[in-house]
Subunit: 187 residues, 6 copies
Amino acid sequence: MHKCMLAALRLNGFPCKRPENVTADDFFSSALALPGNTGNPVGSAVTAANVEKLPGLNTMGVSMSRVDYAPWGVNPPHTHPRATEIIYVLEGSLDVGFVTTAGKLFARTVCKGELFVFPRGLLHYQKNNGDAPAVAISAFNSQLPGTQSLALALFAASPPVPTDVLARALQIDGSLVEAIKSKFPPM
Amino acid sequence: MHKCMLAALRLNGFPCKRPENVTADDFFSSALALPGNTGNPVGSAVTAANVEKLPGLNTMGVSMSRVDYAPWGVNPPHTHPRATEIIYVLEGSLDVGFVTTAGKLFARTVCKGELFVFPRGLLHYQKNNGDAPAVAISAFNSQLPGTQSLALALFAASPPVPTDVLARALQIDGSLVEAIKSKFPPM
Amino acid sequence: MHKCMLAALRLNGFPCKRPENVTADDFFSSALALPGNTGNPVGSAVTAANVEKLPGLNTMGVSMSRVDYAPWGVNPPHTHPRATEIIYVLEGSLDVGFVTTAGKLFARTVCKGELFVFPRGLLHYQKNNGDAPAVAISAFNSQLPGTQSLALALFAASPPVPTDVLARALQIDGSLVEAIKSKFPPM
Amino acid sequence: MHKCMLAALRLNGFPCKRPENVTADDFFSSALALPGNTGNPVGSAVTAANVEKLPGLNTMGVSMSRVDYAPWGVNPPHTHPRATEIIYVLEGSLDVGFVTTAGKLFARTVCKGELFVFPRGLLHYQKNNGDAPAVAISAFNSQLPGTQSLALALFAASPPVPTDVLARALQIDGSLVEAIKSKFPPM
Amino acid sequence: MHKCMLAALRLNGFPCKRPENVTADDFFSSALALPGNTGNPVGSAVTAANVEKLPGLNTMGVSMSRVDYAPWGVNPPHTHPRATEIIYVLEGSLDVGFVTTAGKLFARTVCKGELFVFPRGLLHYQKNNGDAPAVAISAFNSQLPGTQSLALALFAASPPVPTDVLARALQIDGSLVEAIKSKFPPM
Amino acid sequence: MHKCMLAALRLNGFPCKRPENVTADDFFSSALALPGNTGNPVGSAVTAANVEKLPGLNTMGVSMSRVDYAPWGVNPPHTHPRATEIIYVLEGSLDVGFVTTAGKLFARTVCKGELFVFPRGLLHYQKNNGDAPAVAISAFNSQLPGTQSLALALFAASPPVPTDVLARALQIDGSLVEAIKSKFPPM
């Protein structure tokens, strides 16, 4: 019996069932069986099976996502504050990379059937390097890894990160920061 | 820079590279791209990409395996002492299940594109429920989850678990225990 | 003040008292003072003092059990999914062993006053190797280590593990699997 | 005796001293006593006292930094992959903020003697909101929290993050990405 | 979003807000801006900003305290059962020390701008070694480190630690133990 | 195979054997079978089976001690910085207690066969409350819990804790501190 089954109300802030009400379906998800809609500006879609979607993951320390990529689609630079990710390519091939805290990029092409690791908390991305759709499965060592898309965090936070902070950080004019911000609907 | 890059010699007992010698290949594996050989008595094969095979996983807290199943093949009851497993079906469909410490079996069919969770340390199995090969990818929240096949641990350990212990446990005659033991080459 | 004292309702799914209601009795148990009843097919009895029995163990990360053994009695092969065990022999002498994930059995005799360690999650057993009762105390680094008796998990789960899965795993006929299953009342 | 004192060679990849060679100086640092040089484009300087600088922090799970800010200086948006940060203002006042994974900015002014918390792994920044120098002390629950400046990770990694990936992510032209990249010397 | 935001009721025994009710003030404290009152027998005062005072620290794994010292004031020997401490001197200079489990004292003077580390759970103290007030900031890798003042625990617990236990421990007469006890109001 | 078996050199600072050299004896100890010598001023003796004595405990997270008590002997107030303790009385009966960080004493009598829990890091003691020898077994959730006897840490550290610090803490004259110090040989 896993720990959550013993909890009458909630554990880690998520609902727990009484043991007599748990079924095999609590450990099952079909959410990753269907492609996500990649008809968006970045050409990719992430479908998550984490504890918010699959309550049986509570206390389990794992979760999964499916990523669909349109031809040349990009899963833009982002971090997972609470997990290392291991990605396995189901279809197509991807150009992937992560940047260390020392500013070094580790990047390569990962083809169907191959895998790559993105260490906890580090900026990383994937790009479909072909003209057919690509698909990958990502596993995480957290039931709720969290995702922080850096373009959105920098330019589309609500309320916004102050323009002068971004201008200083990026060494660009405030007007340009504003122009980039205007591309994003606020989150 | 991840922790292992900083270690001159070894960390957790595994070799570490100096940062200047680390490359993207240290975070990459193609080991799961090809089917394992299922021509064996149980009709399944597990191919692991853990820290023993992919040193870049050291300190990462994740690993992956590919499981191939012949038609009606079985990945026999086993435990992973150090990890929860999340399994994703790539081809075919599987009958899967795990047994809780209260002796309850949670079981169901998992089809292509679907996933199921096996909680840390609990006995579980998968069976290909079709007459075509099946394939699954498993992710773990440990760089070295360990696998203890219970048939092998009980009947093929080296030296062997005493026959009278097994006879008592299984409520069967010692001669029958010996007969089962004789089916397995010692590990 | 330990963490649970601060919790108004529950912590980790177990009840917590308000600090003003906690007494020394919450950290005390006499449950292990009396022998368990070993009049059963395996000739052993486990009495647990874990967080289910002693709520003061909540958040403490420890628990204890007493094991009584009839002459030649066996504590049959089992695992603890969430804890390492350290066993101390109070009376008599035991033949003990555990099997590693590499299939190696580490076994020896442990006499009164001696101790042995069973690593987290690995299959292990004890057998009274004398014709007088034996007693041991086991300590765990978990407030709820869990116990999975492998004979029961394999042959007496409810609903049962499919016969063909067990037949494949054990390399025996389904009829023999059924015969063994029939020895156990379902859990 | 702390764990590292017991290690003859290295622990977690860092050198350990034998107990007889440890002195009080191993637990001491004066590195944060002097202001850092804020004469740089962002107008801030971080001086770290982590395990790389103070080996006695090995296995301790804490570290500290001093941040100096020129008037209106900015500690640009960054993350710490391995730690939560708690910042205490020594001189002046700061505008600080962090962005959640849901894209929400939590921001406010923090004056001399006040503190603010930046949760593990989330993008955050500080800006001196006055025309005198400001100083802060930051504490972390890791001996090596790591810092990933997002402007540098995105635009100055070595080798560089591909321009088309950044153009897609930021919804801007590749030529503009190149223009921003040109502002930064590669790391 | 940090974990506590997701919890409807409580997490770790502390209240959690619903995400829509969280504000920047939940991550902010001004409690350490003002000096504590050192007009007491030991000549020091500790002001804490831990999860009991700042609920936004829940699940964060950090906290802070301010310590004020009258001239020659002492923060008497104490332990923190759940955290390592890193202390930074804001004003004046301190004589500090901790005692290892091997009975070795590591001590030195720490001046303004310098820092010192007290390992988790070990007895330590600070003394203002000057005739002006001194101030320090301490950071902990726990949201609730706990403090056990050893003079109070030994001589002022409620109900009291038995006199004969203390007499044996300190190798002094019971009457002397009673005399020391009489100096302290019960806690 | 447990983690340490995989380490060629050392893990956590302790030696590791290569797997082929590990035997069952590495998980076994007879050190607690014989009584300790209680002919000392406190009338008690602690015999430890921790990772310093039993290398096979490395990475296991458990250890054990035997405590012998002369009639009316005392195991004087102490803390374990790294572990919760669970004590089981083998012979005789003990008066035991621990003091919380709020200064509350939880105390009671624990007889043969009964157990009591001392939370991590809190001051606790045991006293034999009878005129026959008593014996207890203690288990810890750490392979090296550490022990800090508070009388020794306060009055017998080497070099000594300054007398004025202790005088302030205990509200007694320095001459009395010196008198107590003189009772203890330096550690």
